[in-house]
């Protein structure tokens, strides 16, 4: 059974999340080097992390007549919701917050990126940033409803919105096994709310970086780091929602949580480089015409199973 850790453990959540995030960023740097045909080494692995001090001392760019308040608020929102979303993820047998409505909380914190990216795009008073922010809103309208139905599927399967209960309900069979549609839609949505990989459209190269276009120095670090924190929180949440949380034979629960989280992260980091970027206007039709009916049918399955009980 998952127990609630003491209040101070809330302070550990950002540290654990940061450790997983740094692992993911390093793996991503290694994959980039392999694609470029460069020899793999420790230096290559830490290349992205070595950017951090450079960004910390770098000049902050200012634009003509920016809305500085909204701009800074938007940039700060992204890492803040990554950490807040991670608060409810059980790790092994403990969780920082054993909230009764953990799934809804996670969903709400992830939706905060809508406001964050729109403000970050708007505030810079730059056309590329503005289009990037609007692109994320369009993308949000596409990915959000299938994601919600995927979350509803697992919550219905466990008959609880508490993430610890959802993990406990998979003691015998993972939800990923009998709710594969919800699992795949969830993983796609992790890319979408962290605007990475196939969903990097709001910050893509065809837009000179989109929401990132006018960000430099510490602002850029905060937004780039924030999207990776969100990405890692999403990958970590897949473990209790679909992969049975800390349940597993032989090893202790915390070890299973670590192994599974690293596994999901590895899959997502690898997939990030294998999948082409999707335009929001293409994904929105796929989401509304194909994915929403599919995920509603998927949510029907656990509902029928519940009725049989």
């Amino acid at each position: 059974m998952v127990t609630s850790a003491p209040l101070w453990s809330v302070l550990l959540v950002p540290l654990v999340l940061l450790a997983f995030t740094m692992t993911a960023v390093s793996a991503d740097a290694l994959l980039a080097a392999r694609t470029a045909g460069r020899p793999l080494s420790v230096a290559v692995c830490s290349e992205t992390l070595a950017e951090v001090p450079r960004l910390l001392v770098g000049q902050r760019r200012t634009t003509l007549a920016p809305d500085a308040l909204l701009w800074r608020m938007g940039v700060l929102t992204v890492p803040a919701c990554g950490v807040l979303a991670a608060l409810v993820i059980p790790f092994g047998r403990v969780t920082a917050s054993r909230m009764d409505v953990g799934v809804v909380w996670f969903n709400a914190m992830e939706v905060f990126t809508w406001a964050g990216l729109w403000m970050a795009g708007w505030g810079a008073n730059s056309v590329f940033g503005l289009i990037g922010g609007y692109r994320f809103v369009a993308q949000g309208l596409a990915y959000e409803l299938p994601l919600m139905f995927a979350l509803i599927s697992v919550a219905t399967g466990a008959q609880s919105l508490n993430i610890a209960d959802i993990a406990a309900a998979q003691a015998h069979l993972w939800f990923a096994v009998w709710m594969p549609v919800a699992f795949v839609v969830y993983l796609a949505s992790v890319y979408a709310f962290s605007f990475l990989g196939p969903f990097a459209y709001p910050a893509s190269r065809d837009l000179a970086g989109g929401v990132l276009a006018e960000l430099s120095g510490v602002d850029r670090l905060v937004l780039q780091g924030g999207r990776w924190l969100l990405f890692t929180a999403g990958a970590g949440m897949a473990v209790p929602l679909f992969l049975g949380g800390g349940n597993g034979p032989l090893l202790p629960a915390w070890a299973w949580s670590t192994v599974k989280t690293l596994g999901v992260l590895a899959l997502l980091v690898w997939g990030r480089r294998r999948l082409p970027t999707l335009r929001a206007d293409r994904y929105v039709e796929l989401a509304w015409v194909v994915l929403i009916p599919l995920t509603i049918l998927q949510a029907l399955l656990p509902a029928l199973v519940d009725l049989r009980k």
């Binding site: 809804v104 729109w118 008073n125 015409v289």
Partner: protein, 182 residues
């Protein structure tokens, strides 16, 4: 906690009318709604509070897009105001606030003589919806049908525009090509 959220909720609502930028006004309203959601959580209605926060973020960002598109001066480069007829609107809003706020102190609230229920959200839902569930379900379907009908009536493009006069043209001639290739 209650007072911080209450001040944010009322202050955010007030600031909506102080800002001269549509974007800032929308975000101020969002802050007000999120604080209201937080107040619901403080009251022990965790589910309702978090759902209010979730829905209000999505709603306010979509509203920001439309308001920026429709307002005369979205960017705040020229002075704009969120109100018309300042003296009258100020009088009406202050009177309403005082009336509603005063009502809270004047009403004789019932006295609780038992412990709060284990799940206040369930109790509230039963109290609000319990006997009227059938009405609400019918209303939901009627509203949804209205939305679909309005969109169908409002769109200027029908199937003959998409598939040609003989309805045989494939793929459809859409101004924005979708991802499914219908």
């Amino acid at each position: 906690m209650f007072w911080v959220l209450a001040l944010l909720a009322a202050g955010g609502g007030f600031l909506v009318f102080r800002f001269d930028s549509m974007a800032r006004a929308t975000i101020a309203l969002l802050v007000s709604f999120v604080a209201t959601g937080g107040l619901l959580v403080v009251l022990g209605l965790g589910y309702l509070g978090v759902v209010v926060i979730l829905m209000m973020i999505m709603e306010m960002i979509i509203m920001a897009v439309f308001m920026v598109a429709y307002m005369m001066n979205p960017a705040g480069l020229m002075p704009m105001a969120m109100y018309h007829n300042k003296p009258a609107s100020l009088t009406i809003s202050i009177t309403t606030f005082v009336l509603l706020g005063g009502g809270i102190f004047l009403v004789r609230w019932p006295h609780r003589d038992s412990a709060p229920p284990a799940d206040p959200t369930l109790q509230l839902g039963m109290a609000l919806m319990g006997p009227q569930m059938l009405t609400m379900m019918t209303l939901g379907f009627a509203l949804f049908a209205t939305i679909v009908a309005t969109v169908v009536l409002a769109t200027h493009r029908g199937r003959y525009d998409r598939f040609g006069d003989d309805l045989l043209h494939r793929p459809a001639a859409d101004p924005v090509p979708g991802g499914v290739g219908r």
